[in-house]
Symmetry: C2
Subunit: 342 residues, 2 copies
């Protein structure tokens, strides 16, 4: 029998579904991805409405999982499914719940894992965690963190998520929600963060943060020669800033320098807390390569206590971005199997 795990990633727009073997080969992936139910504008979400949307979603997801298993079994009938790993926003590993997810149309605390479990009683594990934790597990099981017992994963997209591995296991904390490094304070009384706080790492070191730094610098220099001066806030992307930097634009270069300075200082604090072997960067902003890695590394080393200097690697994630979400979610299952053996 060939052991496989189902990986599901619930994003704000789409839900990815795939089947992965223990080496990280994606044997099947639903293309296009399934739609995640959307919040309805101008509609008050009652519990009843939320329950009804959820019930339909669970039912579709169940059909899709069954279809995925069928597809894989057609190629190799010797498939044994070990479980379903799910990455979702505001997911609680301990309780298997999705709690007060602001970007999903579900009200309150949803017993998501148990609803899926009910439809697949034959599987040993149905497990849930947030996407950044899943990414950290993916890196440990299939990626660049193989064999590492202590590392951190920073997923830098619209926001900044993190998954922390200590003594070979994820840090979930007392309540299941640990690892919110995007919301540590890096600039007291600084920029307003999406969560309502001030001066959080995510408000500086994320696609959104990079965008904000662009306009801060355009305001500072009033530089009409910069290619960035032609682009309104709502159209700006990290990619555009990267392209401008490649063409030598000093505003774009300074944006990455500032982003790396702040990220490096925050990562120094990650080291002061956890002394990881490596810190992995994942996502769009990390794709800017040396523009982001170089100032981040320099800044981290500058802010580290001497005992930690020149020890901690800052590495790009080794997970392919296109299937990283599925890989991460499926890794939950291999990790559960490892735990159940020990």
């Amino acid at each position: 029998m060939k052991k496989v795990a189902i990986g599901i990633d619930i994003g704000g727009t789409n839900t990815a579904i795939g089947v992965v073997d223990s080496e990280g080969n994606v044997l099947y992936e639903r293309k296009p991805q399934m739609a995640t139910p959307q919040k309805m504008e101008n509609t008050h979400m009652t519990q009843a409405l939320s329950d009804s949307i959820m019930s339909k979603y669970i039912s579709s997801l169940t059909s899709e999982i069954k279809a995925a298993i069928e597809m894989v079994k057609q190629i190799n009938p010797e498939i044994e499914v070990m479980g379903i790993g799910i990455g979702a926003p505001n997911a609680n590993y301990y309780s298997g719940t999705i709690e007060h997810a602001a970007n999903l149309p579900f009200v309150g605390v949803i017993n998501f894992a148990s609803m899926i479990e009910r439809n697949f009683p034959e599987f040993k594990f149905v497990k849930l965690t947030n996407d950044a934790n899943a990414a950290a597990l993916g890196e440990m099981i299939y990626g660049g963190a193989k064999g590492m017992k202590n590392f951190a994963m920073m997923t830098i997209g619209t926001g900044l998520g993190s998954g922390l591995i200590v003594n070979g296991d994820l840090v979930y904390g007392a309540d299941g929600f640990a690892g919110e490094c995007g919301h540590v304070t890096v600039v007291p009384d600084g920029r307003v963060c999406g969560c309502g706080g001030r001066g959080h790492l995510e408000a500086y070191c994320s696609a959104t943060g990079i965008k904000r730094t662009v306009y801060e610098l355009l305001a500072k220099y009033n530089d009409s020669e910069s290619p960035l001066a032609k682009i309104p806030l709502n159209d700006m992307t990290s990619r555009i800033v990267f392209d401008a930097a490649e063409k030598g634009d000093h505003v774009a270069k300074e944006v990455f320098q500032i982003t790396g300075d702040i990220l490096g200082r925050a990562l120094a604090d990650t080291v002061h807390y956890l002394s990881p072997e490596a810190i992995f960067l994942f996502g769009g902003a990390a794709a800017a390569g040396d523009y982001i890695f170089k100032p981040t590394k320099e800044s981290m080393e500058h802010y580290l206590m001497p005992v930690f200097r020149n020890k901690v690697k800052i590495l790009p994630s080794q997970l392919k971005e296109s299937s990283a979400a599925i890989l991460g979610a499926s890794a939950l299952i291999w990790k559960e199997m490892e735990k159940s053996r020990s």
Copy 2:
């Protein structure tokens, strides 16, 4: 047989030695404490000189440990010593070494645990960690953190040390030195820290930090009525500030308010990283009671993401200050026994 552990705490001035049972009863404690070898002014510490001082120190320590065991055996001949736990500055749990300790007269990396081990081959465990990590273990084994799997210990004395417990075990990190929360940046480009960095937590939230805040406020207000205005920097203590606050002095009260504001913001970040069940405060500054706990708690709640609010307790350590160092060091041994059973 009654199982006991030896606890040794190597401080900058004195070395404490005690024998502790698994309930945290101190069966013997050397009084007065033994002297720790001192740095010699105007003397270049060569490796040979360092080795000679160390060799004498190990020899005295060995005699003292043997004497301690004898004393306890006289009272109860059925004593079985399980091991020797040692708390020391710059101690590495993994390697059992003391590395580049700035306040001790030892050069380079000292194989401290193995030198002690050589003299006590009959003991199963000789283990070393830094004092804040030892305090965290002491709290978990004997104190207010019994049964907790995720908590943090902040030891607030001249500096600020920390011990972090995740999934029921200490966070040592990849190199054995994790848990240096005193050196996270809380004020970018702020006060110079003892380690050479800038704006570190320890430069604000420690006995030294409290002292510095006193003089910052005296400079701000030029308040000759404050009882603190009579006292030079070199004579100022947290106790004097506490007494002034008790008498209603507004400078002293504001000092604690500022200290708590910054500590609370830093602890909010501890929660964002680790989501502990509780954070314990230990040491002189924590003795200021509500003057420090109240603003710290208020500030932490203010800076927490909504998902973490009203969940995390800030508690005073339940270890008696006078024997806490011995208790913490001895707790290393009960923790090792627990690990070796699992």
